[in-house]
Amino acid sequence: MMHDIDPGLIADFAEEVIEHVASAETVLVRAAAEQIGADDINLLFRSFHSVKGLARVIGFQAAESLAHAAETVLSDVRDGRRPLDERVQNLLLQSLDALKLARSSLLDGIGYAGDDALLAQLQALGDPQAAPQADNPSRLPDHPLADLYFDAGTLDGLVELLEEVLPDIAACIARGADPAGGDVDTLVFALERIDCLGPVQPLQRLKREPSVSVLVECLLALSHLFQVMECDGLAPTLALIRPNLVQALVKALDQGQWSSIENLARILLPHSPYHGVLAQIPRDDCPADLRARAYEVTAAALRSELGGDDNTPPSELGGLAATEMRNELAARLGPPDAAMKILGNRRIDPHRFRAAGSALAQRLARLQDASGEFFEVRFDVPPASPALIETARILALDWDPLLAETALVDGVQCLCLLVFSDLSEDNIRARLDNVPALPVVVGVTKMNGQQGQVRFTLIERREGAAVGSGIQVRVPVALLDTMFGRLGQFFGVMTRFNALVLDNEVPAALRELSDYAVLHAPHLAAKVDLLARQHRDLSTIEAEAHRLLSVVHETTLGLRVIPLDTLFSRFPRMVRDTAQQTGKQVRFDARANGIRVDNGMLELLSDPLMHMLRNSIDHGVEPPADRAALGKPAQATVIVSAEQRGNHIVIEIRDDGRGINIERVLEKAVANDLVSREQAALLTDDQIARFIFAPGFSTAQAVTDTSGRGVGMDVALVNITKLGGKIDIINRPGLGCCFRLEIPLSKAIQSMLLADTGIQKVAFPDRTVSEVVICATDGVQLVNGQRSMLLHDRFLPLFRLIDLLGLPPGPPRIHGDFSVVVCEHDGQRIGVEVAAILRRADLLIQEMHPRIAHLPGIGGISTIGTDKIVIVVDPDGLFALARQAAVFGLRSHDVRVAEGLF
């Protein structure tokens, strides 16, 4: 079946399935810890639905069946018929696993037969007969129907009761006899018990006024009950009394009793399209001739429909006639097409006005001859304030808006008016501002087709819209690498171009030629001028090309890096499964803090983190009973967090379990000949703990699915070492353990604030910068000998960046003001003085030359454009330098040079 499928389609299937599976998995794992909302359930549903569609495209029946079965279960969950309980979550997670397996089998060219057992479980769950009574009322529809909704037994009981009682009541009424009071009371009692009081009153009235019309009201009320229940429970009863009802409808049609006709038609012809039309024609604004015709057409249609079965869908002809009737109602009372065109030309949705009533339609019709424009006027009106009515009165009378809506604009409740006026925006605002009783005008916007945050503009202008905006494309990493290679070559070409343009000998030669031409060869002067002009143009073009290449370079840098969140999002499912397998209760928290890393680094980090998390849960976290005995909460906490410290990324995996049992590790290390008893006596606890990284080392008593084989932690150490990093263990016996990974930031991308010292560009990590201020020279004061400025009523110590980092001084300042980057780190704030603030940029932090790698305050280097080196500030080091400077004063640049630092 799939052998003939285009490999491209299979690749697309594999790509998309993995995305849908990942997003569904995230939601399901979250559902275990918290109650998820309708949006999440819809996302789950869509994910399985999409996988089903994708599988169908390539004829992958096993995957399609599985996705379909899961989708059916989710359909019940979405419609409130089944709670998303643990059993459902587990089955859905298993389905995701099965789909992952199906995907990899497909890619590997191995057949996938499907998981029949899982499919059977899902199908059993999706069977409506198997739907259990929900155990979580908070997820059910509104009370009072919630209990009944899921209680198939009660509903069946009610259906049986109706079948038993209603035909007798109907028969009595048909004979003109009083129905037995006991029968009615039985129904009333049952309905009161399930808190559905709607049919109770007509039923009680039926005892007093036994008539067909009251009986129909009772049936109508009961039919609502079954409609809400999506149950056809009334059908058997109606079949029994149908002849009586048909007879009553024919009589009502003959006599023109339209309210009875409507009720009877709803009972007998539930699918008739005339219900909607019938309810509209009694309205005041329906013209008399149209009303008469509408009744006539409807009566004929109902008589014709009565000939069919009660559940027969309406005939196509009947439906068409009803639609035509509705359209005629709309057309006779709606605005003319010319007015609709005027609205459409101003991007105001004309369909909004099509059914906005005859009064408005007449006003819109007059717009064709009037000169003016549409404006949206917004007022800040406190909800339900006493001033509202007065405001509304003034606006309604003086401004007569076409429409008025209450809307939230930027989180503030506003009254938005659509006004047609020949005044300008400013004049409208001025006139409104002059009315004392009116509230503040928030905005006046002319509806002239421009983009903007306006309430009444609904139409998206297609012409000129950015094609493909919001569309994403997949790009293979290899293609990206090729592109970076080409970009590198382009840099090389640009450097040569730059060298040619900036070659000082060319202008000198041109000047010499020009002088010679003036003196000795005037006929060549024009040609020499042409060459000089071309050289100048070339310089301009080179500068522009240089700028554009810099932009392209910076933009493309972001393509290779991936948020650490992408990696962390793989863990919740694994943590959940491991916790379930080991009988532990674990709350997992992942905090990537916006850090992004190179894709290659991400892959090398994946396994170490996975192993360490498993290790924490399996060995570190105690079973709930043990935790309770120790006075700890039954649910353990495992946190994985990442942050940048200096030129390293630090990732911590922390748990609040029992910590590493040092004695047992030592015992095992000695037993495995990793260390002698004599040597062991000299080791610190930290050194002993590191034996867990030895290949094959495990203190577990038994091998489990998750750990105990002694493989894992050594892999973690190998991978982190490959990245040039290290792993520290912070062990607190009885309280928990923390694995701290430090990885050089060699390939990490960070958001930076770029600044200039005058001769050197520097970058401050975004997370360090709290604000940027301009300080006047006379704003600097000496506080205890420290240069400081007053900022937000507090003194901020000021340091020159060139002094802190020992950089050569830049050119002297021309004006008196200077820029200060306010840095915050570990609760301390300092102001760092720079010559200029440039902009924000995402920079690729590169490895530093060993000669500068040890310098404090410098966390790395980067480049912008083709060759501009940027020094990346290390906040830790910078603050250490600032503290040192505040205490000891600063060493001069000359001293640092003398010390061989530069």
Partner: protein, 142 residues
């Protein structure tokens, strides 16, 4: 002998319309507005007050939600349902859809979703009259 006023509950998410609706009906002796509440509080409020009629503001709500709300209201109490909205003119597709699903009557809001024109006494009076006629849905219109 004067008839007791007909009790109403307004269900709307628009506080401006709620204010103006109450204002428009405050001088009527034949109508009394028990409460004006948001859709989430509709069932409980109708159960508590047991009004004869419920006015449901269809603006700003999904059509399916309006239908669902109306059906539930009809179960909780034997109320008459009147739909109101700025775009529920005769022949409106939305109105037709709702009326095909639930027995109800409808009145137009004057001047957009907020019903701004209800601040004007004349408009308010004609709106109230139209509402009264819609409430009397048991009477023959033809």
């Amino acid at each position: 002998m004067t008839r007791p006023p007909v009790g109403l509950v307004l269900i709307t998410a628009d506080t401006t319309f709620a204010t103006l609706f109450r204002h428009a009906l405050e001088t009527r002796e034949d109508l009394v507005v028990h409460d004006a509440v948001i859709p989430d509080q509709a069932l409980e409020t109708v159960r508590r007050h047991g009004p004869a009629h419920v006015v449901v503001d269809a603006d700003g709500q999904a059509v399916a939600n309006v239908v669902r709300l109306c059906r539930k209201l009809l179960l909780v109490r034997p109320v008459g349902v009147v739909l109101t909205g700025a775009y529920l003119g005769l022949g409106s597709a939305v109105l037709t859809h709702i009326l095909e699903a639930v027995p109800a009557r409808s009145v137009m809001k004057p001047g957009g979703c907020a019903g701004l024109a209800l601040a004007d006494e004349t408009t308010a009076a004609s709106f109230a009259d139209a509402l009264v006629r819609a409430l009397g849905c048991g009477t023959e219109a033809a």
